[in-house]
Amino acid sequence: MHLLGDFVPETGSVPPHIAVVELRGKLFSPASLRELVVRLGQQVRAGTYGDMKVVLVASDPATREIVGLLAQAHSLPVYLASSFDPVMVEEAAPVGDLTAAEVETLDQLRSLGGIATVARVAELMDLEPSAATNRLVNVERKGYLHRIKRGRRQGDLFVDPRTQRQALSSGVGGEAPRMREALLDAGIRSDPYERKRLKLEGEAARRAQEIIRGEAEK
């Protein structure tokens, strides 16, 4: 925590940002792990570091499990990743005080490139705008999303911090077309950019084997 305080000045005015904290190189006692996670989570939730979200990285599954339990017990807004790798950070799991519907909302927002208005999320999830608003605002208030205020006509933007590379570095609030916008406008809900692990079973595995061996029909 001293280190974090050295690098991140306590302020409430810095722009939206994300801290990726890797828990390695140190053997944590239960007390020191609890102190780090709970204190950091509480400070993030309280806005001590401004609009900062946090990803905790731990390669050890047991450490991640304990951090997840601590986050749940203390309602701490934390994302958990198994590696510092940027792709794994984007795949970080939200832990803490989230309902299944709120986790689904985060997943859907991420599938839109991590940035969207209420209207776009409502359309994707087949929700009334008021219901989508409630979900996004609840998740944002719990500390898992950035909210970029804009005019009423444009609508506020909700930003998933895990996809900050795109969302916060490519001009939040601009008029450029967003990922999947053309597809959603045409009623196509598939996400061609989907990055999750491909699982091959049964016939699909046999077909994949055929393709990889160069035996697929030309």
């Binding site: 196509i188 692990r197 046999r206 990889i212 029909e217």
Partner: protein
Amino acid sequence: VQRSFATRADDADFAGFECCGDDAAPWALETENYVRSSVLGHAEHVLALRDEEGALVAVSAFDRKRIEVPRAVDPLDLKGWQLQVVAVHRESQRNGLCAAVFANTFDAMRDLDPGRGVVQANVHKDNSPSIKACRNAGLFELMPLEPEGEYWILLGRVPGTTTELPLD
């Protein structure tokens, strides 16, 4: 064509990239939008292909991908790639450039990690030109991206790699 990994310095060229007309299908328009405004911030590896005068004639992008095969004894975990986009500028289409784009993309994949031998592309089922281009590059239809979905997963092997998929 000259191949290079794109950076933010290429942003202006990407922002003006055109690969479809006004009456384009939604998946073609999506491709153009993605190249113009998202790919540099979204994909892990972005290739810019330029002609001898330096004009941007094609773009491809890909991410690392893991492919899991749950076998009876030990699950197989393959390292691969996912093609996020292959786009040829509208003024350079229909002249065989697409094959060169795939070849350069496979070269870049091998340069980055020769141990990643499988490549996945997700293509709309009605996007015949892209499906044909993928087939020509050795990527074939595997299965729908999701049940009742409109996109298909196409799978192939990065040429020059030795990936195997031993099943039980």
